[in-house]
């Protein structure tokens, strides 16, 4: 093998790399927040919502979970303009991530809701709370606590999956890596470095989410 590794050539491109990291983090933060919010709403709709809403949400969830993220991305970014909806790269990337995470977190949160004992609902109703008040104040938080590890894993998975948004020229970390290697022809080194950075991001995110879980749910999970 006549290849000498040369990581120093990346040096002049560090700002590009750094910017890409920031964009990946930004995509993650926005995607996770709105994606989980959408997921909670959909989980409520599927588990406790009005009858007419259930098949709509079910259709959305099954569609997203049975198609690749890349195709969802292309459909939203390339396909929607032909019916009049124009999006920037970042908007397209964020929207797709929210819609994608929304479907997966819906199922995860729904499992948490369905693990709630009927007695909790009945206690809430007997105290005069409406069905929605009972969901909001009694059921939601323990449900989230139950599924927090699974939800955290899914968020990390979506973050890692976000690497493909570079395909619609959203300037995330993988886009930066592509850019740099097209300039300095050191593909292996830059992808290696980018992968290491993604790994660091994933580990950090996992720890952050675990800490967030401790802060949000200070008590041990019970039925």
């Amino acid at each position: 093998m006549n290849y000498t590794f040369d990581f120093s050539s990346i040096g002049s491109y560090l700002p590009v790399l750094f910017n890409g990291i920031l964009v990946t983090i930004e995509l993650m933060a926005v995607g996770a927040t709105f994606g989980v919010a959408l997921g909670i709403f959909c989980a409520w709709a599927r588990a406790l919502g009005p009858i007419w809403l259930k098949p709509i949400v079910a259709g959305y969830v099954e569609l997203i979970r049975n198609t690749p993220f890349l195709i969802q991305l292309f459909f939203i970014f390339f396909g929607l303009p032909s019916i009049g909806i124009q999006l920037t790269e970042m908007q397209g990337a964020m929207l797709t991530m929210v819609i994608n995470l929304g479907a997966y977190s819906c199922e995860i949160v729904r499992a948490g809701i369905q693990a709630t004992t009927k007695g909790q609902f009945e206690a809430g109703w007997s105290l005069g709370m409406t069905r929605f008040e009972t969901f909001r104040y009694v059921v939601l938080i323990p449900s989230l606590q139950r599924i927090w590890p699974a939800l955290s894993s899914q968020i990390v998975l979506v973050m890692l999956g976000s690497a493909v948004v570079s395909q619609i020229a959203a300037e995330d970390l993988s886009f930066a890596a592509n850019f740099i290697q097209s300039r300095n022809f050191r593909a292996f080194e830059i992808y290696f470095l980018a992968t290491a950075i993604y790994l660091a991001l994933a580990i950090t995110l996992r720890q952050l989410l675990r800490g967030l879980g401790w802060w949000l749910f200070p008590r041990k999970a019970t039925r």
Binding site: L127, T130, E133, Y137, Q145
Partner: protein, 243 residues
């Protein structure tokens, strides 16, 4: 006029007719024990009174207002009639104090300050004022049930429905809960209790209802019902249970 009027109530689950025409009138400050074998419909009847189960025929009236299955009527009903469950059903993510405060703030739109004052008051009343900040796992079964009673009392109901509230407790914890109920009865709270505690029923209740296969088989003051059972079914039931 009675506080709670149950007239010709029928209820079926699928093919199974669980309540076959129940007629009971409950006056204010009455303490009624409902006894009978499992499957006789006791719990179902109780759960119909606060709308957790819908009735198929008949009517239930509480304080003059008829029980109708829509959300508005149900909510109004549940403000008048509280329920205590066999499994306590405390909210695990909240302290005892906040358990008692929650529905006051959410349902009755009471301010947090007032809700907290009421909560401390009610917890004191059941003997658990010092456990305001305790979570469910720090409380014994008897304490949890007493918190559940405080929680229901904080809504200032006219009547309390008690669905086998001591059945899930270890024997040594039963008395602390029954003591609280006894106090409530003395203070004039209207109580409907599905219970297996015959001694308690005899001491505290004004009337005993014996249910059998979905009907009220016998009804009367405890001295009569326990001492002179009129029907063979009640006789057999009393023979099997301690009384």
């Amino acid at each position: 006029m009675s506080l709670i009027e149950i007239t010709e109530v029928k209820k079926r689950f699928g093919d199974n007719e669980v309540l076959k025409g129940i007629n009971i009138d409950v006056a204010a400050a009455e303490v009624i024990a409902i006894i009978g074998k499992s499957g006789s419909g006791k719990s179902t009847l109780l759960r119909c009174i606060n709308g957790l189960e819908t009735i198929d025929e008949g009517s239930i009236t509480v304080a003059g207002a008829q029980l109708l299955p829509d959300e508005i009527h149900l909510k109004a009903l549940r403000l008048k009639v509280g329920m205590i469950f066999q499994q306590f059903n405390l909210f695990p993510h909240l302290t005892a104090g906040r358990n008692v405060m929650l529905s006051q703030m959410v349902v009755k739109k009471v301010t947090e300050k007032d809700a907290e004052a009421m909560a401390r008051n009610m917890l004191d009343r059941v003997g658990l004022g010092h456990k305001f900040d305790a979570y469910q796992e720090e409380l014994s079964g008897g304490q949890q049930q007493r918190v559940a009673i405080a929680r229901a009392l904080a809504m200032q109901p006219m009547a309390l429905l008690c669905d086998e509230i001591t059945s899930a407790l270890d024997p040594e914890l039963v008395n602390e809960v029954l003591a609280v109920v006894k106090e409530l009865a003395k203070e004039g709270m209207t109580l409907l209790m599905v219970t297996h505690e015959m001694r308690f029923a005899r001491e505290v209740c004004s009337r005993v209802v014996f249910m059998h296969q979905g009907r009220v088989h016998e009804i009367g003051p405890p001295e009569e019902v326990f001492a002179n059972p009129k029907t063979p079914e009640l006789n057999q039931f009393l023979g099997v249970t301690e009384h």
